[in-house]
């Protein structure tokens, strides 16, 4: 079993300039049709990143299409319906009406499963595009963390590497402060696992396995941390090791210190985290976070093989792009760890999330904290090099 990681690369652009460069010189020149998948809703980032790439002008290129995903979670205030209509109108303008929508039906099992069902239902539609760009900017966390691995499952021909006839990119217009200032989640107390990553909660024998939880900290979500841990603890009878992952290096060098200070009680007293268990990964490089997590998974799985396996839980509570890094690690670990470990042990990967019931849109401040476009290339031509 080779231990080379699938994404042992840094194929990503950071910031407007680099992303535009990648778009102009590479992505826009790829053969075949290109589909942008965006989150349809009140968030102006539904079109702002694409608009930047297209320089604000409507595209006459008929190979470009856009599909808006519309979800069950909605803005708390009906007046935001007008914002949504504005955003859709602007997206239609950019694509000259080559814009359509797919609605994931609200199922009681939650958004994650609903999205999986949607992708499955429209497999043919998605597969016909040579290039898919998932713009996660305006998508709720649970939406894109389900969508990205589900589209990977759909498009990847070889589970051991990222070469493919299809190109898959993830883009995000992101600024953590902007995110915190402009969109507030109105959360329920219910913790749901991503459909593809249930961590063995539905398998009886998994009850006997040891658990390790990797909360990826970066946002200001203490309540989330508490309820997720309670949920994990409920499911694990053999004890849980907690390995928090903190952003360092970061644009603000004190960011991880600030997070530790904010969560000090929770981390070191309630969760009994030992200082030696803290992990750090660069705030700006989702692939580094992916590698850091994968290395931890592999290291732990080697130790746990003799105990019959283990359960790894990952909670991406950080920025959107970093969360994509985390979900890539979960995706790969789910496919690889059991192969690596052999038949004597079983590993389960779980991604517990607190699903928002509604979103609260705050008035966008007139500040200079504008989101910057970044892109991750996950699959396709960039990897088709032997």
């Amino acid at each position: 079993m080779k231990e080379q990681l699938i994404w042992d690369v840094n194929l990503f652009t950071q910031g407007n300039e680099q992303s535009l460069d990648l778009w102009v010189n590479a992505i826009s020149k790829l053969k075949g049709d290109t589909l942008f998948i965006v989150g349809a809703g009140f968030d102006p980032r539904m079109h702002s990143g694409i608009s930047y790439l297209l320089k604000g002008k409507p595209s006459d290129d008929t190979s470009l299409q856009c599909v808006g995903l519309r979800g069950a979670a909605h803005a708390t205030d009906n007046s935001y319906g007008a914002k949504e209509l504005e955003n859709i109108a602007e997206t239609k303008r950019l694509f000259r009406d080559r814009y359509g929508e797919l609605t994931y039906e609200p199922v009681e099992a939650g958004t994650s499963m609903s999205i999986c069902l949607l992708v499955k239902k429209h497999e043919e539609f998605f597969s016909k595009f040579s290039n898919i760009i998932i713009d996660i900017s305006s998508m709720p966390r649970i939406t894109f963390l389900t969508l990205v691995p589900q589209v990977l499952i759909l498009l990847r021909e070889d589970i051991h590497n990222a070469s493919s006839r299809h190109n898959l990119l993830v883009m995000a217009s992101e600024n953590i402060q902007y995110e915190e200032e402009c969109v507030g989640n109105v959360q329920s107390n219910e913790v749901a696992f991503l459909h593809q990553f249930k961590g063995g909660i539905d398998i009886e024998e998994a009850d006997e396995l040891v658990g390790v939880w990797f909360p990826i900290l970066g946002g200001s979500r203490l309540e989330e941390l508490e309820v997720i841990f309670q949920k994990i603890e409920k499911k694990i009878t053999q004890g849980v090791d907690v390995i928090p992952l903190l952003p360092f290096p970061s644009q603000n060098p004190r960011r991880s210190d600030n997070i530790i200070s904010k969560f000090h009680n929770e981390l070191f007293q309630s969760l009994e985290v030992s200082y030696g268990n803290l992990l750090y990964a660069s705030e700006d490089n989702p692939f580094e976070l992916y590698r850091r997590l994968m290395n931890s998974f592999v290291r732990y799985s080697k130790n746990l093989t003799n105990l019959g396996g283990g359960r790894f839980f990952v909670s991406p509570l950080s920025g959107k792009l970093m969360s994509v890094g985390a979900i890539l690690a979960c995706y790969e670990a789910k496919n690889r760890l059991n192969l690596l470990a052999g038949i004597k042990s079983t590993f389960h990967i779980g991604v517990p999330m607190v699903e928002p019931r509604e979103y609260e849109v705050k008035e966008v401040q007139k500040s200079d904290k504008k989101p910057e476009v970044s892109m991750l290339w996950l699959l396709g031509e960039a990897y088709n090099v032997s």
């Binding site: 099992a109 329920s188 249930k198 539905d202 009886e204 409920k234």
Partner: protein
């Protein structure tokens, strides 16, 4: 091992072994449930219901094979004698091992989505999943019962099936390991199907009945040739997490199957319709007994039963820490109030002089002065306030007396009201002392633990401080902690209650009405209004009329999340349904914590509270509006 904060563990799963679980278990709840079921606990289908945090899962765990086994092994005179005795009465224990084998199945995860994925096949796959899981849990309970480790061979078990056994989808086998293997494969097959959103093999997952329940109905288990288990107890937890069609399928099947062994279902109120959640006994007539855990304790002024229950939990948990005397830490000392009391007394003395100079109440004043001659400041303040409130009450009903009023005409003023009034009028701390542990918990173990945890944290910090000479927590500090918890509870409305903005407006409006009517010196409410009541007719309208949909859904969410508790009461020949506010919310609104004070409103008025903001109206106009047509207690 000593624990930093013995109240930090909030769910039974956090107690990993049976002994630590038992160390935190209070047998009072067992006693209460026994009484509620007329001691038929182990003879029928029982549905346990409550909002989250009332100890349903904890109660079920007591009957798990590992906990019953641990209790059986305990020697007499042990700490858990009450629990053991209570279980002995239920004939749970045998000579060497328990007679009862508890089989615990939690259906919170992995079941509901079956309904969303598999369309027409859903129910048969759901039944297959339940069948597989019951067998797996049955085997797991047997391992616990006989203290076998996971993976140990099952060859020493022998299954004896009765002649009329219906195997259904189960393999016709007397071998436990064969049965286990079958269940494990079936479980994996369904889990994979859920993950892939399609099943490769519908044949083996197409179950037309809950055969595993039939199976338990028709077998005896022998281990190494001996039969020790006389009764199975199937406990299915978190049933509210099933889809309603699955839940009904399961409940209906249980009623039809009529298993010869007891089956317990535990679920939150959230799975009930508004009618079932809001109207007591709305689903009576079904062939199972329901036990609503949040209604086990009566809402009385003193809350004696619940206080006893909470005190027993405090007692058990405090043994886990090296700090002793939690109640003593919470009892504030007289000197803490000295300066405040002095200033209050100055003001009251002035007022007393005015009363004396006006005349009319000399007998009352004389009686008072005689009673407080050698009293401390606190007692003096209470007595003076009693006098002033009595005068206010008297003058509220009569005009100012021209002649001396006799001491026998002095209206009674409740002590609990005096405490509340002094808090409102002079800012005397009110939410402190060990009473807050039970009086603010609204019958919920979880809410009690939240309060105790926060207060104990302060105790812990104080105990570490070498500089602090105080071996108690000041009343102001305690009140500050309570207010913080209350604020959190209030804010959680955003997460838990539908239409949160309307729900908050509703509560704010109610609190405003309650406070306007309660904080007057002559208030008749004891100690304050903390509930709104509606008649049966209005309750019917509430659950049936489409125009009240928002109100219905909000009140249902309040009920299912313990933001209100509902008690029925007869007053002047009329039955009313009183919606008492959660006690932490009372603390948030600065209302009193005792039960008993409520006002009746009509349903239209409650609906209006979702739309208007009473804070924009003056207290006088609010009082004017509610003066007529309301029934007060």
């Amino acid at each position: 091992m000593s624990e930093r904060n013995p109240f930090s563990k909030k769910s039974n799963e956090q107690f990993s072994d049976s002994h630590s679980f038992l160390d935190a278990f209070s047998p009072i709840i067992l006693d209460k449930v026994r009484k509620a079921t007329n001691d038929q606990l182990l003879n029928q289908i029982i549905v346990y219901r409550s909002p989250p945090g009332f100890g349903k899962s904890t109660f079920l765990r007591l009957f798990s094979s590992s906990v019953l086994g641990a209790l059986q092994r305990l020697k007499s005179g042990d700490l858990h004698t009450n629990t053991v005795n209570c279980l002995k009465d239920l004939d749970v224990f045998g000579a060497a091992k328990p007679k009862v084998l508890g089989v615990y199945l939690n259906v919170a995860d992995g079941y509901a989505e079956i309904q969303d994925i598999f369309g027409n096949q859903s129910l048969s796959i759901f039944r297959a999943m339940i069948n597989a899981k019951i067998i797996l849990k049955f085997v797991s309970s047997l391992r616990d019962y006989y203290e076998l480790s996971f993976g140990e061979p099952l060859d020493d078990f022998e299954l004896e099936a009765t002649t009329g056994i219906e195997w259904g989808a189960l393999p016709k086998s007397n071998s436990l390991s064969e049965l286990y293997k079958w269940a494990e494969e079936l479980e994996h097959k369904i889990a994979r199907g859920i993950s892939d959103l399609e099943l490769k093999d519908y044949q083996s997952t197409n179950h037309s009945s809950f055969s595993s329940i039939d199976f338990l109905n028709s077998i005896k288990v022998k281990y190494k040739g001996q039969q020790q288990i006389r009764k199975f107890l199937l406990m299915i937890d978190d049933v509210h997490r099933l889809r309603s069609i699955q839940r009904m399928e399961l409940l209906d099947a249980l009623v039809v199957l009529r298993p010869s062994f007891p089956v317990w279902i535990a679920e939150r109120l959230s799975c009930l319709s508004s009618k079932e959640a809001l109207i007591e006994g709305a689903d009576e007539g079904r062939e199972y007994r329901t036990v609503t855990l949040d209604e086990l304790f009566p809402a009385t002024a003193n809350n004696v039963d619940f206080k006893k229950f909470i005190n027993s939990i405090v007692h058990y948990r405090m043994r886990k820490t090296t700090i002793s005397g939690f109640d003593s830490w919470l009892n504030a000392r007289e000197e803490d109030f000295a300066s405040l009391q002095e200033s209050i007394l100055v003001e009251m003395e002035k007022k007393l002089e005015e009363v004396k100079s006006r005349g009319g109440y000399d007998e009352w004043v004389d009686k008072l002065q005689l009673g407080i001659e050698n009293s401390n400041r606190a007692r003096k303040i209470d007595a003076l306030q009693e006098l002033f409130s009595a005068i206010a009450k008297y003058e509220n009903k009569n005009s100012f007396p021209l002649l001396e009023v006799s001491a026998t005409d002095m209206p009674r003023v409740d002590k609990s009201f005096i405490k509340f009034y002094l808090h409102r009028r002079y800012k005397v701390p009110y939410f402190y002392g060990d009473k807050v542990l039970w009086s603010l918990a609204t019958f919920s173990v979880l809410e009690f633990l939240d309060i105790a945890e926060a207060l104990f944290e302060e105790v812990y910090l104080h105990s570490l401080s070498t500089r602090s000479k105080k071996n108690y927590i000041g009343a102001n500090k305690q009140e500050q902690i309570i207010k913080q918890l209350a604020k959190t509870k209030y804010r959680k409305i955003n997460n838990l209650i539908i239409h949160p903005k309307k729900a908050i407006l509703f509560l704010d409006n109610f609190a405003r009405v309650a406070m306007t009517r309660s904080e007057k010196e002559s208030s008749p409410y004891t100690p304050s209004i903390t509930g709104f009541a509606i008649t049966d007719a209005d309750l019917d309208e509430l659950v049936n009329e489409p125009k009240f949909e928002s109100l219905r859904r909000i009140l249902t969410d309040f009920r299912t999340n313990n933001y209100v508790v509902i008690r029925r009461q007869e007053k002047s020949g009329e039955i009313v349904n009183i919606f008492y506010l959660n006690r932490l919310l009372c603390a948030h609104f600065d209302l009193a914590v005792g039960y008993g004070g409520w006002n009746k409103f009509d349903i239209q008025e409650l609906d209006r509270w979702l739309k208007v903001d009473l804070s924009k109206e003056s207290p006088d106009s609010v009082e004017q509006r509610y003066r007529q047509g309301t029934l007060s207690v």
